[in-house]
Amino acid sequence: MVPDFLTIAEASTLIGKRELSPVELTESRLTRIERLDGKLHSFIRVLREPALAAARAAEAEIMAGNRRGPLHGIPIGLKDIYETKGVPTTGHSKVLIDHVPQRDATSVRRLTEAGAIVLGKLATHEFALGGPSFDLPWPPARNPWDTSRFTGGSSSGTGAAVAAGLVLGGTGSDTGGSIRGPAALCGLAGLKPSYGRISRTGILPLAFSLDHAGPMTWTAEDCAIMLQAMAGHDPADPASADVPVPDYRAALSGDVKGLRIGLIRHFYDDDNRAEEATRQGIAAAVKVFENLGCSVRELRLSPLADWAACGVMIMLSEAYAIHQATLRERFGDYGEMFRDRMALAALVTGGDYVQAVRRRRELAAEFATAMADLDLALTAAAPGVAPAIDAVGKFATFERPMLTMPFNVTGTPAMSVCCGYSVAGLPLSFQLAGKPFEEATVLRAAHAYEKATPWRSAHPRLDH
């Protein structure tokens, strides 16, 4: 009997010892999807037969002594903005309901070449922006910790599917927080790497200069395993960085002694005041890092609203440019949430878009200067626990400045880390951010924190 919850690292160890077969593991997840996804709606397309065929092929290769690495035989899911050859990739939208790509996204190809088994395509907010929406061809994903609650977005299906143990890992994308938000609300480890670290080729764009692809998993170690496969230069992506890819898993030494952490308290104390439980969780996390030998000092940056305004103005403008022609022709085919946010984008002038891009240079320089004598920054990832799914307003993005947007503006790596649970049993989280291309430091700190705390042993109870 395969356990309901396994990390990628755990399953990989068992597969390596030939105590677990990829076919057995894949079948167990498909059974779990069949049993549970009717109330979670995390998948919009399950690829049962292709997944089983891939699992059988993986098993044969492994039995023949040709194991490719830690992802070989591991079931994952793909946010449905990652293009998949011959399999519809819709962006969760009626607008692309018949879109069947001719190629895999570069990151999908890299994952499957590493041996990952794709179980299917996962729910997203429409084109990674409009959600949670109830007027799309598929319903919005629901939070496994409480199915009346929001998953966060836009990588909503990935958040739900990983938390529920339907897949062992999944892909997300993050333009203003779309990996870290659902990771925070669903209790996952979600990493937005540096801009340029993972190819965007074959991923439906939201905003070219802010879009980041990345992994969402149960642990930091699993993020490291997925990042290892996904990262690397891609000449087909003009933003792809031609920089070395280190051994991320090897960096998880457990030793974080001497790391210097800047605590951006004003973001969640003043600028977008977080709930008491979140602030207490972060205070406790700071103590954990201090006990592990890190030094923590306050870090003050420009007001969060400045970062959010800069990022949102750029995001709206770039997204609007992408959808402008289709919005004119098929406005009613988009969900109301997406189309009305885009209509709001029509109010942004060209001049103000350029001012936002000029502001971006200033803010990125400010962060680089502030981090000169620090290794990491720590702040909130979300202002509180998951709200009710029907309480998320159409323009909620604009009402309070997003805690995740600063690190899209800077393009630097940032990660959501679970730091406990509320009285109601909902996940709490914080955010760790690093210097450009220093994902290994972010992962090392997150991994050490997870090992020092009990939070990774709790899972949603779904079978009642």
């Binding site: 200069s209 400045d306 305004a309 004119r328 406005f331 189309r339 109010l347 502001r359 240079r361």
Partner: protein
Amino acid sequence: MTRAEVETALARAGLEVPERERQEIAAVAHFIEEMAERVRGKRAMGAEPAHIFPPPGA
């Protein structure tokens, strides 16, 4: 931003927005104005944007 300004912008964009949604958009248009005000600021004439164009092969 007045309702008339919002209507003009939507008309120029060529978007066929239903009346109820137009009202809702007009009601939150102030968010765009507030964000625009935040990104304008005072800066030197030569302050560069984050976007620069690297010629292919550079």
